[in-house]
């Protein structure tokens, strides 16, 4: 297991290094081709070329890209992501609160979508072609088809704005504020305020994923329910809950966990639409304005952080999968051969 983890961590480091190198090079290619100048942006439009040159020197932009990249790498090793060109604050100081917001959003949403997906998928698998299964299949199809940039504002409108105007799904109610239309309350300020400010964002982000995961859970469970070992378990008198928890769950869990790791990792990079719609100061929004302002250190910081999160989530998922399924760690990276041997 130790060798497995070490191998995954080395691979993860290389992935992060490659991502940052590509991001750095892209910026410099764009600058070289278009003449776009972060120093000009920082110096303001009243600045003379001499002043722009001085700002470039101050920002360290007058050195070759590879030396800037090396400086960045050395900084990262020391936990220093450099200074934002635009805000002149340490990137880490800007990054950490934003990462906290995005983590709150994504982790909360992931819990929510799993809480929805597992029962919906299991009931669908246990009662295939029943009324419940057909209704949930339609709901799943709608949820998958509804883009988050539509779901999010509709939730804000229907559950935050309309109740404040005395309406709820067409019914007249006393004006009430269930949820803020936008805004984020840090957990340090108020736990209940934090949860209330994130309820609609969690829901907006979870709807689509819940539908996908409900499908996976249903399909995987249905497949396993047809296996002979389930028939044997049933013949021995095992109840359905016992079959699900003891026999089927350990088999389908690694696949679901792997998917979850990928999705959470990718979403941690910034759930831009949800963050924009609900005014959450997370990584996605930060990356967007950093790119617009040619704020290389902040952009690279966000990209590096997002890559780290994605790789970390994948690694955790791999390790979890390896823990649950010994074939993965025994395989030593040659999964098919191991699978064949075990079969």
């Amino acid at each position: 297991m130790g060798r497995f983890i070490a191998r995954r961590l080395v691979a993860a480091s290389i992935q992060v290094l490659v991502v940052t190198l590509i991001a750095y090079m892209l910026f410099y290619v764009i600058s070289a081709v278009t003449g776009a100048s972060p120093a000009q942006r920082v110096a303001g439009h009243g600045a003379t070329p001499e002043q722009v040159a001085r700002v470039a020197h101050l920002l360290g932009l007058d050195t070759p890209w590879y030396s800037q990249y090396w400086r960045f790498l050395v900084g990262v090793v020391h936990g220093d992501f450099g200074y934002s060109f635009q805000q002149r604050l340490p990137v880490a100081e800007l990054l950490l609160p934003a990462a906290g917001v995005t983590a709150s959003l994504v982790v909360g949403a992931a819990i929510l979508w799993m809480l929805i997906a597992i029962p919906v998928g299991l009931v669908g698998a246990l009662r295939p072609k029943s009324a419940w299964d057909r209704v949930s299949a339609i709901a799943v199809q709608i949820a998958i088809s509804a883009p988050v940039f539509w779901v999010a504002p509709m939730l804000a409108y229907l559950l935050a704005y309309q109740p404040s105007q005395g309406k709820l799904f067409g019914l007249s109610i006393p004006p009430i504020t269930f949820f803020p239309i936008q805004g984020y309350v840090p957990m340090s300020q108020s736990v209940s305020g934090w949860a209330i400010s994130l309820t609609l964002p969690w829901l907006a982000l979870a709807v689509g994923f819940a539908a996908f995961y409900a499908r996976f859970v249903r399909a995987f469970t249905l497949e396993q329910l047809g296996e002979e070992y389930v028939l044997v378990a049933r013949a021995k008198g095992a109840s359905t809950p016992r079959i699900l928890s003891t026999h089927i769950a350990p088999i389908i869990a690694p696949a679901i966990i792997t998917l979850l790791g990928l999705d959470v990792g990718a979403t941690l990079g910034g759930a831009l639409f949800v963050e924009v719609t609900f005014g959450l100061p997370g990584l996605g929004y930060m990356a967007f304005s950093a790119i617009q302002n040619l704020d290389y250190p902040l952009t690279i910081g966000v990209i590096t952080f997002a890559a780290l999160m994605a790789v970390l989530a994948n690694t955790v998922a791999d390790i979890a999968q390896a823990t649950l399924d010994p074939r993965v760690r025994i395989a030593g990276g040659v999964g098919n051969r191991a699978d064949g041997r075990l079969r």
């Binding site: 776009a36 800007l94 504020t177």
Partner: protein, 574 residues
């Protein structure tokens, strides 16, 4: 300002309109038509003129209370006064800082008249090359310490220092020794000296707009000994009616009353006890929040769809305001590239453009007004010129093109930003209109940061483009100097995108440095009309508007002609 309201908002509208526009539209109701904006004035929706502002949210507020105000993400670029430059940051600056000179808390032209700040209006001598300011007695920083002339001198040295690399330094390069100090070649600025409670600035030549430049918040007073590095937590902003109680970048800022603000010396300012600025509010959702009473108002532009529905909603009468921004959106024509080096071609383009149609593309009368002048109507003493017909005159355009001797069709590239609402649409409309007179336009669009890289380098010889310029201070030399003075064309970082370099115009523009008093605006108006009639280096298109919505129960809304939202006048209704 480096990032105008429109620039600041556009990036949000660009993608935000897709994201939340549906909710904004759902919130709309049918009702009366929007009223057109008066020149340079603020107009309440459904009202014919600025005079109706006495009702609704424009009624004076009472003192006390607290309010939450929305601000888009990235709306605060800095709280370090030598560095802040965004229009929305300067709204905070107007509440937290009292510069040497400032502006009254009033709408329209009265709000653009320079008045004393921490100093009285200065005594000018030496033919406009020396300005002596006397500090007002009894003024203090928020820590209770008196603001002295030495503090003011230190503030200026800090702003001009190479360590801070302030974008404000360029506006004061005519102070004797300032350029050398800023370049790190000198240890002090001989042009700034103090004596008792007075401070003197010596210039290397008269600068007619010097008083306006002294209002800029770059030189917000800071105590002697403030670090020569950026202080971004707001702790050094101690001279305005409000101070920053707390600031979490990209999340929230809380302003409270400055206990040492001397209202007797500086004038009574500030109604609310506490102002919470919620950062990261999307323009598209801001309207819903204001309607729901979760926010008093928004410090930036509402999304155009939301602005339109708000303007047509009779239940919001007296709560919606349309203010003209101190900006001009223009089609610049590269005067150094054939055939745009021919004034008749440039005049023909000005005739070929149907500005009324372009305004519809831009969002209609609520979003701006058409213009054929360089200067926006917010400029003091501005006079409407009517140089070119707003509906265009294609026959006249064709006649001028024929007289120019150029061979048709002309093919030219037009560069425009694509990360802000309206610009590409404008470019496409211009493309269609110019095609009618035999000018084939090829549009190249890119995000602003990339587009600027192309158009600020004259050697790239970009034939034409659409850009917006927003004033740094309300004097015409902030338009004519950087945009049209050929002697200020630089090989990089050039703002004269049209590469307009007319020796007679250069002489006229530079001669204005020596002109002060009422003649100044009269002469600038004459230059504006003459340049646009004879040289036509651009085709000015639109002066953009800012549509604001104010929540019920909030009063004291003032659309300030320099800073837009005046936080100090906002408060609860009586």
């Amino acid at each position: 300002m480096s990032l105008s309201f429109s620039q600041n908002t556009r990036r949000r509208v660009t993608y935000g309109a897709v994201i939340v526009g549906v909710a904004a539209l759902l919130a709309g109701c049918s009702g009366s038509s929007p009223a057109p904006a008066d020149s340079g004035a603020t107009t309440a929706a459904g009202s014919p003129s600025a005079s109706s502002n006495s009702a609704g949210a424009a009624a004076p507020a009472v003192a006390g209370g607290a309010a939450t105000i929305g601000l888009p993400a990235g709306g605060i670029d800095h709280l370090e006064p030598t560095l802040w430059y965004m229009a929305t940051s300067w709204e905070v600056a107007f509440a937290t800082c009292t510069p040497m000179l400032t502006f009254p808390d009033e709408a329209a032209n009265p709000g653009a008249q320079v008045v004393g700040g921490i100093a009285d209006l200065p005594v000018m001598s030496d033919g406009g090359k020396t300005y002596t300011f006397t500090l007002r007695p009894g003024i203090k920083f928020s820590n209770g310490n008196a603001i002295t002339a030495e503090d003011v001198k230190y503030t200026w040295l800090r702003m001009l220092s190479p360590e801070l690399a302030s974008p404000g330094a360029g506006f004061f390069s005519n102070i004797v020794g300032a350029s050398d100090f800023n370049a790190g070649k000198a240890k002090t600025v001989p042009g700034i000296s103090t004596s008792g409670n007075s401070i003197t600035f010596k210039l290397d030549k008269p600068i007619g707009s010097f008083l306006y430049r002294m209002t800029m918040p770059f030189a917000c007073p800071v105590p002697t000994g403030t670090p020569m590095s950026a202080v971004e937590d707001g702790s050094i902003l101690g001279s305005g009616p409000y101070i920053v109680q707390s600031y979490t970048p990209n999340q929230q800022m809380v302003l409270v009353k400055n206990p040492y603000y001397n209202a007797d010396a500086l004038g009574a300012r500030g109604k609310l006890d506490t102002i919470t600025i919620q950062i990261g509010v999307d323009a598209n959702a801001a309207g819903l929040q204001i309607r729901a009473g979760q926010m008093a108002t928004y410090m930036d532009r509402l999304a155009s769809a939301d602005a339109s529905t708000a303007l047509q909603d009779p239940t919001l009468k007296g709560q919606v305001f349309v203010g003209t921004l101190p900006s001009t959106t223009y089609l610049w024509l590269n005067n150094s590239v054939a055939p745009f080096d021919n004034p008749k071609v440039r005049q023909a383009i000005n005739y070929a453009i149907d500005r009324d149609s372009l305004l519809r593309v831009w969002g209609g009368p609520s979003q701006g007004s058409v213009t054929d002048q360089v200067l926006p109507p917010t400029m003091s003493g501005w006079q409407k010129a009517d140089i070119y017909p707003s509906k265009g005159d294609v026959a006249k355009a064709k006649e001028l093109l024929q007289a120019s001797g150029v061979t048709l069709p002309i093919t030219a590239t037009l560069r425009v930003r694509n990360d802000a609402a309206g610009y590409v649409n404008l470019a496409e409309a211009v493309q269609a209109q110019l095609a009618e007179v035999g000018i084939n336009v090829k549009i190249e669009s890119a995000p602003d940061s990339v587009n600027q890289g192309f158009i600020t380098v004259p050697a790239n010889k970009i034939p034409m483009g659409i850009s917006t310029w927003t004033q740094d201070y309300p004097d015409p030399d902030d338009f004519f100097g950087p945009l049209l003075d050929g002697n200020r064309i630089t090989p990089t970082s050039n703002n004269n995108y049209a590469s307009f370099n007319s020796s007679s115009a250069n002489t006229q523009i530079e001669a204005m440095d020596a002109v002060t008093g009422p003649d100044r605006s009269t002469q600038w108006n004459a230059i504006d009309q003459q340049v646009m009639t004879e040289d036509a280096p651009w085709a000015p298109l639109i002066n953009p508007n800012l549509v604001s919505l104010v929540a019920k129960g909030t009063c004291g809304y003032v659309f300030h002609p320099v800073y837009a939202l005046d936080l100090t006048t906002l408060g609860m209704c009586g």
